[in-house]
């Protein structure tokens, strides 16, 4: 005799940049089911027009982040049993703080634009003909650079940040954590320019240290401490240079 099938009560945001509303679906519950499984079940079995984004399904690509019951999460690694209460209710929406393209697909352009604006691109300090600089793995700078290097650019921290909500010019936790990685990377060719950018309006000094970024980061990174590092470094530099 098979066990009785249980169902999840799922509200999914449907719409585009201009308008939309939640639509309810009844989704069969399975063992080890993820939020991405739930969304895929709806798209494959209930409504093929549902739009969402995913790629790797194993928490590496950073494509599938959505708001789940009010919190930003990587949906491929979020188990239903972790977030659905006893009432088996789920509310799934596109990432906060980003424009909506359609349904659950948020437009990531502002997020990546700010990542680039914060100086996120690597600038080489040597050519391929130069000897490879020796970096001690145990050096303090390398430690600080390593701390943020596993960022998958899922934008969960950006969606969690209330300062981003209130201040659209603010670069946000991911871009600033990338900047902190770069200013600690001895092989980067233009670290002063990055310090300059994060000291300007919209930079690290707008952070209120609320810590939502660190709380929600699915990779257990700590953007808030990276931003605090930038604040300390820029303040020290300001007095050193007198500029």
């Amino acid at each position: 005799m098979s066990e009785q099938q249980e169902y999840l009560d799922v509200s999914v945001w449907r719409g585009d940049a201009s308008s939309g509303d939640y639509q309810s679906f009844r989704v069969p519950e399975y063992a080890s089911q993820t939020i991405l499984d739930v969304v895929s079940w709806i798209q494959q079995n209930a409504d093929p027009t549902l739009t969402y984004r995913f790629a790797c399904r194993v928490g590496m690509c950073g494509s599938c982040a959505m708001m789940v019951n009010g919190s930003p999460r990587w949906t491929c690694r979020t188990h239903v049993k972790k977030v659905a209460g006893k009432d088996r209710k789920l509310k799934i929406a596109p990432l906060r703080n980003l424009p909506v393209i359609k349904d659950l697909a948020a437009d990531m352009a502002p997020f990546f634009d700010k990542w680039v604006k914060a100086g996120g691109r690597h600038a080489p300090s040597a050519t391929r003909n130069d000897p490879i600089p020796q970096i001690k793995p145990e050096s303090a700078g390398r430690d600080a650079a390593n701390a943020g290097i596993e960022c998958i650019n899922c934008s969960v921290c950006y969606a969690a940040c209330d300062t981003v909500t209130g201040n659209p010019d603010y670069l946000g936790p991911a871009a600033l954590q990338r900047a902190w990685t770069i200013v600690n990377d001895e092989k980067h060719g233009n670290r002063d320019a990055v310090i300059e950018i994060v000291s300007a309006a919209g930079g690290c000094h707008n952070c209120h240290s609320m810590g939502s970024c660190t709380l929600h980061c699915p990779n257990d990174l700590d953007p808030m401490s990276a931003i605090a590092g930038l604040k300390r470094l820029t303040a020290r530099n300001f007095f050193k240079r007198g500029a």
């Binding site: 201040n167 603010y170 000291s199 919209g202 000094h205 604040k231």
Partner: protein, 111 residues
């Protein structure tokens, strides 16, 4: 909205305020033991160069600190930005400084 200059101005003014706030509260608690009238307070503060400088610097630090705080709150809650925001922060600074200086003069300068 905040750059490093405004950030440092707010942090440094906060640091300046710490001893002022502690002294202000401590003296207040000490002075009211056994009751205190307005005339008694003014008797001690009016004509005092020390209290003039103490509250003068306190008011200056508060004006800088509060004006930058107002700038952040207004910008994040109403979306005001650019020169209008700078005008508002400048006006708040002058208002706080004027009101504070008026109070300092009344309390520390001899009638």
């Amino acid at each position: 909205m905040l750059n490093i200059r405004l950030y440092l101005a707010q942090r440094i003014s906060a640091m300046i305020m710490v001893p002022f706030v502690i002294t202000h509260i401590a003296v207040m608690i000490y002075a009211i033991q056994g009751g205190l009238s307005a005339a008694e307070i003014l008797g001690r503060t009016q004509g005092s160069v020390f209290w003039f400088l103490f509250y003068g610097m306190f008011v200056a630090a508060v004006s800088v600190h509060a004006a930058i705080g107002v700038r952040v709150i207004v910008s994040e809650t109403t979306g005001l930005r650019g020169s209008a925001l700078s005008l508002l922060s400048g006006a708040s600074f002058l208002l706080f400084l004027f009101l504070g200086a008026r109070a300092v003069m009344a309390v520390t300068v001899s009638a």
